[in-house]
Symmetry: C2
Subunit: 312 residues, 2 copies
């Protein structure tokens, strides 16, 4: 079976499944639409953490141990910056910095984020399309018991410690998706849309907050397959479980499934968990979702494609 | 003998004498006014090569072998940038990059170059004052047989290969020096002004092109001591000798002495060269000017101060 696959994802966890999909699909069969709500300016540099995670994963440059950033990384820039009294709460590796510097000056010269990303994708020999969810700026802001916080302030500086009360995706209502994203979703050979195992609040819902993208997703005929980011009631990485609890939901894959009601046709919960309660219009299945290595990424990608075929 | 010393300098060679002066003077006795005509924007970063050379020399962070940049440097940023297809003709070390990133975002936030430099100077524990020649942008441009070139295009990208026909210090006529520079030159305890062994065309004359700074220098009562950047008809480093020849001058320390006529009271030529021909109003002496190590930097600094005392 062939056909095009569109994946929606955020950073590290989602990027792993995107990598698995890229490995089991032909080069031109995958389009990844990436959250940019976490993007921010730091030390004057424009940092797009989720795009970088996807680029590094698909170029097989990710650090396998640290879970973020590039492998074979060094930290001499940060050490020297600390020596100059610069801000050191956000770690920028020497190799990773090349991405931020290259992106920042090209954005300042008027190149859209999508064009910068496309240039880097080609240069790194990545076959799949990688599309930022928008070339317009959308900024995820987090309402907490310590007030409204910019995303990286909440996520990195405060280490997700303040309790979350709500979220806002500033700019999303007027941000247009890329024409290439809408075109990918409208393809007649579309085989599946995959909602990767990313944080629903921080990675997937900012994408869904773009009205034209949400409408295009609701209009696709191909099955939409979502994968749980929660296993055993906890997030594999990041604050998803903590946020579910703080926002008044159960910390479970079932709670994530319910957030995708009306959008996902199939929800893959982890094989180690009991099957979540039914959600109307959604088939809930179980599979191994923990991607400890490349084989598991490929295995989950194949399972997603199997479920899509079964749902078509 | 005590009193304040003001040094004018460019990059590497001048920074060595500034370092020697800093080591033989008391901490608050030295003000270094640094050329900024070479400053340029690269990859969106504001690079001030001469300020960095002086900061690194005075903080004893310079690379002793390479002759520019920081010691214990690594190049992983450049390697990654090349991998992304970025411009790699100007080398930025991982540690050095901290300076450019910190400076760039602070300038963009509205902090003047002098304030950024002062903050870094203090943080690195440098006792001497380091003043950019101006907070306004002055850009050295080089007229060559290949047309007008921006300085770094000529200096780094083209490796000084095009023959020089003329120079322009764009913005100098309207750029104001720092009040602190004028105040240092007006001090009643001013003991000497030192024109460091820097390229006259590229490092010293951009400073002298600022009308208020030139006027202040001409008004000082303290002796002005210039040191040759030319030994044995050749520059210790850089294109000074080549530029002298291309501009129709003899490639000799005497030719540099004549450029400082009416400004310098004493000119120190190298001990290995014959005494240059007389220049009206200038005492020309010989001393060891090659600064191969810290002892030679200190030795030359002491000789400069001796000549100043003798000329007072």
């Amino acid at each position: 079976m062939s056909g095009h696959v569109v994946a929606l994802c955020g950073g590290v966890g989602g990027a792993k499944l995107a990598h698995g999909l890229a490995r089991v699909l032909a080069g031109d069969e995958l389009t990844v639409i990436v959250n940019t709500g976490d993007d921010f300016r730091h030390l004057g540099l424009w940092v797009s953490p989720d795009i970088d995670a996807v680029v590094y994963a698909l170029a097989e440059l990710s650090d396998p141990v640290r879970g973020w950033g590039r492998r074979e990384e060094s930290w001499n820039f940060m050490a020297a910056l600390a020596g100059l009294g610069g801000e050191s709460w956000f770690q920028l590796g020497d190799r990773d910095l090349a991405m931020h510097v290259e992106r920042t000056w090209r954005l300042a010269a008027g190149e859209p984020l999508s064009a910068v990303t496309e240039r880097i994708r080609r240069r790194l020999g990545i076959a799949a399309s990688i599309l930022p969810m928008s070339d317009a700026t959308v900024s995820t802001r987090v309402e907490t018991d310590a007030g409204w916080l910019d995303f990286q302030e909440y996520f990195v500086h405060r280490r997700c410690e303040p309790a979350v009360r709500g979220l806002d995706y500033a700019g999303a209502a007027t941000a247009g998706p890329l024409p290439a994203a809408l075109a990918a979703l409208a393809r007649s050979d579309l085989r599946a849309v995959v909602i990767c195992p990313s944080n629903p609040f921080l990675s997937i819902e900012p994408i869904l907050a773009l009205p034209a993208l949400r409408a295009a997703l609701e209009a696709v005929r191909a099955p939409v397959i979502a994968v749980t980011p929660i296993i055993g009631g906890e997030a594999v990485k990041g604050p998803a479980a903590k946020m579910l609890r703080e926002l008044g939901f159960e910390s479970s894959s079932g709670a994530v499934a319910r957030r995708y009601a009306g959008l996902a046709d199939v929800f893959i919960s982890d094989a180690a968990d009991p099957l979540p309660p039914p959600v109307p219009g959604m088939r809930i299945v179980r599979a191994a979702t923990l991607m400890t290595g490349v084989a598991e990424r490929e295995g989950l990608a194949r399972e997603v494609l199997r479920q899509a075929a079964a749902a078509s």
